[in-house]
Amino acid sequence: MPMNKARKLTLLAAVVAALATTAVATAGSSLSLVAYSTPKTVMGKIIQAWQQTPDGKDVTFSQSYGASTDQARAVGQGLKADVVFLSTGDDVNLLVDDGLVDSRWNRQSYSGIAADTVVVFAVRNGNPKHIKGWADLVKPGVQVVTPNPFSSGSAKWNVLAAYGAERRLGKTDRQATAYVQTLFRHVVSQDSSGRNATNTFLAGKGDVLITYESEAFAARQNGQDIQYVIPRQSMLIELPIAVLKGSANKDVANKFIRFVKSDTAQDLFGRYGFRPVNKKIAAKYADKFPSRPGIFAVDDKIIGGWRNADKVWFDPNKGRMAKIEQAVGGPSSG
């Protein structure tokens, strides 16, 4: 039926046209921010603040939030991004290896870090199981919630914090690794992202959630019924921000990142539960963010930096977490 075919072709043309217009990237100043799962509120405020400045005045943003490693992989698969704000340097390295981020990203100011936080234990109000330190997590009957280390940045921090804490207490490499395995025997849920783990905990699962201090803070700020404990041995979480090499708006993106490290933005970080990297602003929030004698960072020699940690712990086939998950019956990948 010839007329039928003509009609089909016109419809097809209309559909293709519609798809094409939606596919073409919008022109003008716009930035795509791809971030890990929890900083939506504070980034919303920072973006708003930047849009009040001459640099950010006519810049529109598109934002995507999700598990840090998953987001990095999505960018690798084509998710459009100008700026990535991820939760581990490991995930930024993923993009470096994909050729999407310059390998000198951590030579920027503050080593490429936008804000800090620490690993904490979120517990039920009143701390009924009296959880204070890492040893309490492996007491009989204690149920732990942490995300999946193959998809979540938060989970990676938790693993390294657990290991590092034991090393700082004098345990050997083997003993500390055994502790991590024991810990994962107590894990009752491994959601894909830090935020999902928070929601699982808030929905009633588990006695303790290992998470970011900023996330526990955010949950509290949203009226959720929890409190948090900073263990004596804890890990400094450094949250990296970087520009994508292929960004069409590199200048604007770099200006935004500079703003993120400026006093205004750092103050907003402080207000929303993050530890500012800017020392002057950090001092202002000293009471809100107590320090602990045993806080160590990823570059501490017991961890040896992200490249080393990734190879030792998070290699999907030969890493220690792959073996531990297999031993405890956990997920073998994200």
């Binding site: 998953d70 009633g204 990948s333």
Partner: protein
């Protein structure tokens, strides 16, 4: 039309089958038989069997009540049955969470349990058996039943020997559709089940998680298994349809 069908349906299927098989059968098998994939598939099939069984019974009862009985609110009941067809699956999950999850007014909390999965699947597959049995029941000739009753057969006997054999193809079609839906369901499950690997991670969630983490091989392997199951169920439904219409044609 064939080009459209090829581009929209066949090409994606080809890509999936090719990706899962590109490293050879041995590799495919080792991925599919990994503990986490096996657990996900077992959970999925187990839940689908339970849900299909429950649907077969409850759906038939509901269809019976709608066709053979008459009461106030019957047309409302009839209309409401199609709601899971019309409602987005994520809203379905949210509704179950509202009533049976944390802070439920009933004081129960089944979130993150396998019960939650069964409940979500019951919600989504509710219409299938009802809608496949209804038309068959409507067309059923009551004479044979009347005759059996007048000969002294009890209700149960009448149902078992006369009604059931006639509506069985209808029940089975509904069950096959419900099973297919249950195997593939994700929207209603994602909020309520907690996706705990080895405990409440169904095959669809497994595939989802592995896509996100870049493990396309693992995702494809389990996805192909789900594809094969879908095809087999469609064949079964088609076969049932053929058998019943042949029966009609010969009658």
């Amino acid at each position: 039309m064939t080009t459209f069908l090829s581009v929209v349906v066949l090409l994606p299927i080809a890509a999936l089958v090719w990706t899962s098989g590109k490293h050879g059968w041995h590799e495919f098998w080792s991925v599919v038989s990994a503990p986490e994939s096996v657990a996900a598939l077992e959970l999925t099939l187990g839940a689908a069997v339970i849900v299909s069984g429950l649907n077969a019974a409850l759906g038939t009862i509901t269809a019976w009540v709608l066709v053979r009985d008459d009461f106030v609110g019957k047309s409302l009941m009839n209309a409401v049955i199609d709601l899971p067809f019309a409602l987005p699956t994520i809203v379905g999950g949210l509704t179950l969470l509202a009533l049976y999850g944390p802070s439920s007014p009933l004081g129960i909390d089944i979130a993150f349990t396998r019960t939650a999965i069964v409940l979500a699947l019951m919600f989504e597959t509710l219409p299938f058996v009802v809608r496949t049995v209804q038309p068959v029941l409507l067309e059923l000739d009551r004479e044979a039943e009347e005759a059996a009753r007048s000969l002294g057969a009890g209700e149960a006997r009448v149902f078992r020997s006369i009604v059931l054999p006639n509506i069985l193809p209808g029940i089975l079609s509904g069950v096959a559709l419900a099973f297919a839906r249950a195997v593939g369901e994700i929207g209603s499950i994602v909020l309520i089940s907690g996706n705990l690997p080895f405990k409440t991670e169904v095959a669809a969630v497994f595939v989802f998680n592995h896509i996100q983490s870049g493990d396309q091989n693992g995702a494809s392997a389990v996805a192909v298994v789900m594809l094969v199951i879908a095809f087999l169920l469609l064949l079964a439904i088609g076969g049932l349809r053929y058998l019943t219409t042949r029966h009609e044609r010969n009658a």
